[in-house]
Symmetry: C2
Subunit: 219 residues, 2 copies
């Protein structure tokens, strides 16, 4: 039986308010999202007196241990019938985490962003990917996936996976440096064969808008 609720004025009310989190990273040259039991997005109910953003942070921490991630509100999904439990709108959030993020939950799994998911979660994921793609060259969203020091080739892999396009390595390096979002650490790292790459890091871990590149992404 579906949940119902009524308010003190006697009118029907939402049975609950949810938050679902699209935990996104790039693994194996592809964007992937974290799912928990039954191909659903991690999420939970917003408590009374709780800000949904805090619910999202709480759920992210519970599932991944990640404490400071890039996190933003995505959109609210409240179409009637979307949740079999009843009238349960969900405020979807987007979180970007490093590729090595793991979880205790044995039912959790990383899946590609085109995987079919429970409920309307595939639609939520599609919205999330579009959002990240749109902000890629205009903000430092990628800092969520690359929080520490990284060679520009790693950054290129991340950008390519999200933009669904391949960039010329030289041009990519020139343009990412020109955004001013990244700064060299001064160190180098060798990844097997080849000349060791200089390491960079994002200048700010806080959300920054306005890199201001017009680089192409797939449309």
């Amino acid at each position: 039986m579906a949940w119902t609720a009524a308010n003190s004025e006697g009118y029907p009310a939402p049975a609950a308010l949810r938050v679902d989190v699209v935990v996104l990273t790039v693994r194996e040259q592809a964007p992937q999202v974290l799912t928990v039991g039954g191909r659903a997005l991690p999420g939970g109910f917003v408590g009374a007196g709780e800000d949904p953003a805090d619910t999202a942070r709480r759920k992210l921490r519970e599932k991944t241990g990640v404490d400071r991630a890039y996190l933003e509100q995505l959109a609210t999904f409240a179409r009637p019938g979307r949740d079999p439990r009843g009238w349960v709108p969900t405020v979807a959030h987007l979180a970007l985490v490093p590729p090595d993020t793991e979880t205790d939950d044995p039912a959790a799994a990383w899946v590609g962003v085109d995987a079919s998911l429970a409920y309307d979660h595939h639609e939520i994921v599609a919205t999330a990917v579009e959002r990240v793609r749109g902000k890629l060259w205009w903000s430092n969203v990628a800092v969520g996936i690359l929080p520490g020091a990284f060679p520009l080739s790693d950054a290129r892999t991340v950008y390519e996976a999200i933009a669904r396009i391949t960039y010329d390595p030289a041009t990519f390096a020139r343009d990412l440096k020109a955004t001013g979002l990244v700064a060299p650490t001064g160190e180098r790292r060798s990844e097997g064969r080849g000349r060791p790459a200089a390491l960079y890091r994002f200048a700010s871990e806080r959300p920054v808008w306005g890199a201001g590149r017009r680089k192409r992404v797939a449309t």
Copy 2:
């Protein structure tokens, strides 16, 4: 006394779900929003079994008579304490309407986007203006404000008010035409003195993304 609600499982639930609509246009060379009684945004409660997008359409029609407007979901505001009535999240929507839109409501008024408003509505309006500004040259959002045939000078006024920048008339015309979003109607219209201007219209009334200009807007 604040409203409360509980669901059939015995847990507290939101007292209601609201939709508030930022009805935006450009009047007197400035972006303005429609307010109703007490400097609040028009809005209402989402009925049981209703999609919030439909609630937004319904409210827009009730207040302005506008039936087909550019309408999109903006963001959800659910910070505890934002609504004195109790736990009432609102799914804010953005609607763009023509400047001549009027309303029956005697308490309704068009106000500048920097006017102080009730509740957290100023924050909602600020989010709306940023959203429109970000999409201005990348979509046909402006079709909501300019639904029919218009001279390019009118379009320039709208774009300038939203972008908070002045464009060179010649360059503006060249670049707006180059987006492919507008098409000439073949007609001309004389506005008092001066050479009559050719009229244009947006090629599509439905949302179109991807004009793909890098024109500046104020940041």
